[in-house]
């Protein structure tokens, strides 16, 4: 562990490599986290199946790539549409029936059930193996080979930024985005003013699923996925949202990049096998610290 720390201190270009990787991938995490922040803010529910939606998107890209020979990058729109429909279906069959509940844990339990169901279904359908859909686009070599960046990372960074920008513009300037924001501010008032709340909720949940799907197909191009890795993405998106706050677009991007870069560096120092442990522990610690700080002011976080 100390030797790895020494390596980092002695060779700054290595640190730079880790940080750049982290920043580029962080944009994808930010995309997934934005979806979570959206449904959390608008519908006041949290989705434990967030990571499973990501992995599902990844598997669709993988299947289209290997079964039908479609280039992975071109699968992204297909994945987005499929996941949008899937999110809509989940909303209409499950979430819709639970929205009026006083007990918020009921919806959490439902998404928890969906997460388990999706994990197991994906294992049954796609098998438990680790898969990837690397499009082999080559890499950029900078500073005499000291820093190497895969082209797909840059492309996925740009795609995430594009999707994020489009979403930002839609939310800010379109009538539909206005309806979503109005619902998140005060759903009763929005309903009185003639906004179809149910449609807004369904769309929000579906957009979240589509964002997760896009994130997933980018992830499967850069890294590998397997049916049970979804949980890590769920926790990452929670952490980013908790750090940035709801509805804070810039905050989510910076938190996403920061979390991802930190994770890369710490993962290098303590070993890749503890990277997941680091994410889980960091989440618990952040929450406990925030709770303790709120308690001093006689408040609580909820």
């Amino acid at each position: 562990m100390i030797t790895y720390l020494k390596i980092l201190i002695e060779s700054p270009e290595f640190l730079a490599q880790l940080l750049i990787n982290g920043f580029l991938i962080g944009a994808i995490f930010a995309l997934i986290a934005y979806g979570l922040a959206l449904i959390w803010g608008v519908m006041d529910i949290i989705n434990f199946a967030q990571g499973e939606l990501v992995i599902f998107g990844g598997y669709i890209t993988y299947t289209l790539f290997y079964q039908f020979g479609i280039h992975p990058i071109l699968t992204i729109p297909i994945v987005a549409v499929v996941l949008y429909a899937y999110g809509w279906a989940i909303y209409k069959t499950i979430i819709y029936r639970l929205l009026g509940q006083k007990d918020i844990f009921i919806t959490i339990l439902a998404t928890f059930g969906i997460a388990i169901l999706m994990q197991q279904l994906m294992q049954a359908i796609f098998g438990p193996d680790v898969v990837t859909a690397n499009p082999e686009l080559g890499m950029q070599v900078l500073f005499d080979g000291k820093i190497i960046i895969a082209n797909i990372q840059i492309i996925s960074f740009l795609i995430s930024l594009c999707v994020g920008t489009i979403l930002f513009i839609v939310m800010r300037y379109s009538r539909f985005g206005q309806a979503i924001r109005a619902t998140s501010q005060n759903s009763r008032a929005a309903r009185i003013l003639g906004i179809d709340i149910d449609k807004v909720y369904a769309n929000t949940f579906a957009i979240n699923a589509a964002l997760c799907g896009i994130g997933g197909s980018l992830v499967v191009m850069i890294w590998t996925i397997h049916p049970f890795i979804g949980l890590v993405y769920t926790f990452r998106s929670f952490m980013i949202v908790i750090l940035a706050g709801l509805g804070n677009f810039a905050g989510i991007i910076f938190a996403g990049m920061g979390v991802s870069a930190l994770e890369n560096v710490v993962g290098f120092i303590i070993g890749a096998e503890f990277q997941a442990a680091f994410i889980f522990c960091l989440l618990v610690i952040i929450l406990i610290v925030r709770s303790a700080r709120a308690r001093k002011k006689r408040e609580y976080i909820a």
Partner: protein, 345 residues
């Protein structure tokens, strides 16, 4: 009133049958042992999840902690400790009968105490949160515990540990011994929880579930009550974990000790299926779920976990009050009908 007496009679009839059950049905001893385990799991989850209204996804942490603490004490109590260069996962300690039972008892109690300490320390931080944050944090806790346990070499890291072999020169066989141990544990847990729910403490927990802000303004130190409740469930859960480690004979950090997808999910499903927030609900839910799992799920051939996920969703969406909640609703409905009939005459 009549139903109450009937139920009590049934229980008094049932107890002797249960006591001789392993002699009558020797082939089903392990199955029945696991039913007691499941009852303990469901009851302890319901203390916070049902009675206090805090759905915890991380109670499995205490289960695993109890299992590991007990296994380490069993390994190190009568031996000189582990060799630095030995592979921990391959150490099998053979103990004499008295050594085995002494170390098991000490280990289980120590596991309970450690779990209580952990619950107090973590609980005072985590139970200050409410709602979404609480759910996320507890889910993270269980997985963090699994990941940490698979990194510690002293407890065998990712390869796990082997619990001591049950001594051969004892009259009671291993299966029957653990059947009675878990029967007693389930009985004690049930009686203790029954007393708790009837006491002022139980009322305070219910008050927190119904309206935490009001409870707080009535002078109940809600966080302290929640921490106390969590500690009590952690104690029994850890003892159950200590026993389960010995029944299985092998501890794996992710698959057995901190097994979120199996024990961790089952305890939630059982409590909700039976009816959360009731005393008998978790017991009934545990029996129904585990028996149906043993009887039917073998036919599902690998799709059993899919069925589990589907079951959670279906129960939550269509049957959120559980079996006991449904019975209670029927009773009230009937009462209403009866009273209306009475008014009419």
């Amino acid at each position: 009133m009549t139903t109450k007496i009937k139920l009590n009679n049934l229980i008094w009839l049932g107890l002797p049958i249960i006591v001789v059950a392993p002699l009558l049905l020797p082939g089903y001893t392990t199955l029945m042992t696991y039913i007691w385990v499941m009852i303990v799991l469901a009851l302890t989850w319901d203390m916070l999840g049902g009675q206090t209204g805090y759905t915890s996804f991380g109670n499995i942490t205490f289960f695993g902690v109890g299992m590991y603490v007990c296994a380490v004490i069993q390994r190190d109590m009568f031996t000189s400790g582990i060799d630095r260069f030995e592979r921990v996962s391959e150490i099998v300690v053979s103990l004499s009968a008295s050594e085995y039972f002494i170390s098991l008892g000490t280990g289980a109690l120590a596991g309970g105490v450690v779990a209580v300490l952990l619950a107090v320390i973590l609980g005072s931080g985590i139970l200050g949160m409410r709602g979404h944050y609480f759910a996320i944090c507890t889910l993270g806790l269980g997985h963090a515990a699994a990941e940490i346990a698979s990194g510690i070499d002293y407890i065998g890291a990712g390869s796990g540990m082997v619990t001591p072999i049950y001594p051969e020169d004892v009259v009671l066989g291993k299966e029957i011994f653990y059947f009675y141990v878990f029967f007693l544990l389930a009985l004690v847990t049930f009686v203790v929880f029954k007393k708790i729910y009837k006491s002022q403490f139980g009322l305070a927990l219910n008050a927190i579930r119904d309206n935490e802000n009001k409870a707080e303004s009535m002078g109940i130190h809600t966080t302290q009550y929640k921490v106390a409740g969590w500690s009590i469930s952690a104690f029994f859960l850890a003892i159950a974990g200590a026993g389960v480690g010995n029944v299985i004979g092998f501890i794996d950090p992710v698959e057995i000790a901190f097994a979120g997808p199996t024990f961790g999910v089952w305890m939630i499903v059982m409590a909700i299926l039976g009816g959360k927030g009731t005393l008998w609900g978790p017991v009934v839910g545990a029996c129904v779920l585990y028996l149906s799992k043993e009887v039917f799920w073998t036919y599902l051939l690998g799709w059993d976990k899919v069925a589990l996920g589907l079951m959670i969703v279906v129960i939550v969406v269509y049957f959120p009050k559980g079996i006991f909640g449904w019975v209670e609703e029927r009773k009230q409905f009937n009462k209403l009908i009866m009273s209306q009939k009475g008014d009419g005459q």
